[in-house]
Symmetry: C2
Subunit: 228 residues, 2 copies
């Protein structure tokens, strides 16, 4: 599904650039479940943003589903995102003056799904993360973990083939974390969705079959093991 | 240092209120180090915001350093916050178009500290969290864990007597988490600062001498044990 070759990302910072990614070559097949780990600042979110077509590399090549993503313009990238990719951001990125339900509906609005079907699917996704009763709450009325779960619901509602989750359990208690990871395992196993999870938590990484570790903008290890 | 009696917080939500806190009575002495734990939505951040004078309870009493905080107006509360309390928010709350250094300086600006002393102390706090070389970066140029560490530096810079840290390690890798918790232990042990840490991570809670657990807006257990 995903193939990268020599991806680099250099941010202009002061007099020198900052190399957030320094030649990342890897691939992920459809149906994989992988954890992405590494120290703070090692390039994980930068890599995830590129995989999710939210950002472009400075150099290197990225093919998604056989298609060279580097050649796409803004509209092509947006189309891919809306159609293929569910994203859980590290900073949740909920619209602030918008209810939980409307936040979760948003990918379907971009898709042109009808109002009634949108609402049905958004409510089902909220119930799957234990927040059906809070559908009318604004983000400011939700705890940190509750906001995170709304973001997870939004990522799952468009039946994307690729789910990129950047620290999806950072603000969740152990029980909620397990429930979310069990959801991701079901999506992966039953629907064949490719799941990549950035995490600092070894208990979360243990759900994945493969662990890719970053350090200073590079992949330093890539281990495939038995599922937990 | 802290004494609460029957603290309740009811948010107006739809036709009924939502009881985020339901009669919390507890106390924390100067020099304590306690972890606050509990499921998502159990009232931890709500309680921390009240202890930090960022919000008021619906009912109940709260005395900080012998002073009835409920009787204070806005200016009195702001004075207490700026003078006595360092706060690490769950959502980091950095000013977006402001450098890391300027964000960390902010409590000292409110204090009227001179520019040169402000800058010296802010840079020292950034170096203590491993980000001295990123002092000129805006929050948008920092990773999630780096932003969290800037927030921690800001909480420590005003030599507050009380440090309230809401999920300070949620976005940090294990090594960075240990470094931050070691910093907190040193502040507690060497300077007598009272430290309350909300966390979902048992490894982080293990640094505390006391663990207070919330469930559905109430304290359900309060255990004192040996330090880790
Ligand atoms: N927009 C930007 N401009 C400049 N530098 C950036 C930008 N975004 C990220 N960086 C820098 O690039 C490096 C990698 O950042 P990235 O967010 O990918 O790290 P990360 O592995 O996700 O870290 P964390 O675990 O803290 O979330 C960091 O040093 C960061 O400060
Ligand atoms: N401004 C608000 N308006 C309405 N309800 C709120 C508001 N803030 C919090 N709540 C609700 O109060 C309850 C407690 O929230 P709180 O943020 O204290 O939980 P928490 O224990 O910090 O959870 P987490 O671990 O997810 O951060 C939750 O049900 C939440 O939705
Ligand atoms: Mg990150
Ligand atoms: Mg909270």
């Amino acid at each position: 599904l995903i193939e990268t070759r020599g991806i680099a990302k250099v941010y202009a910072l002061g007099e020198t650039g900052l190399r957030a990614l320094d030649g990342v070559t890897t691939s992920f097949e459809q149906g994989e479940f992988a954890a992405i780990m590494g120290p703070s600042g090692s390039g994980k979110s930068t890599f995830m943003n590129i995989l999710g077509c939210l950002d472009k590399p400075t150099s290197g090549a990225y093919a998604l589903d056989g298609r060279d993503v580097g050649r796409l313009g803004r509209d092509g990238l947006a189309e891919i995102r809306n159609d293929k990719i569910g994203f859980v951001f590290q900073a949740f990125n909920l619209l602030p003056r918008t209810t939980a339900l409307e936040n979760v509906e948003l990918p379907l609005v971009y898709r042109g799904t009808s109002g009634r079907e949108r609402r049905r699917r958004a409510l089902a996704a909220l119930e799957a993360v234990g927040l059906g009763d809070r559908w009318a709450s604004l983000p400011s009325q939700l705890s940190g973990g509750q906001q995170q779960r709304v973001a997870i619901a939004r990522a799952m509602v468009n039946d994307a083939r690729l789910l990129l989750a950047d620290e999806p359990t950072g603000n969740l208690d152990t029980k909620s974390s397990r429930e979310i990871m069990d959801l991701f395992v079901r999506l992966n196993r039953d629907s064949g969705i490719t799941v990549l999870v950035v995490t600092h938590d070894a208990n979360v990484a243990a759900y994945a079959r493969r662990v890719v570790r970053f350090l200073d903008g590079r992949i330093v290890s890539d281990e495939t093991g038995a599922p937990a």
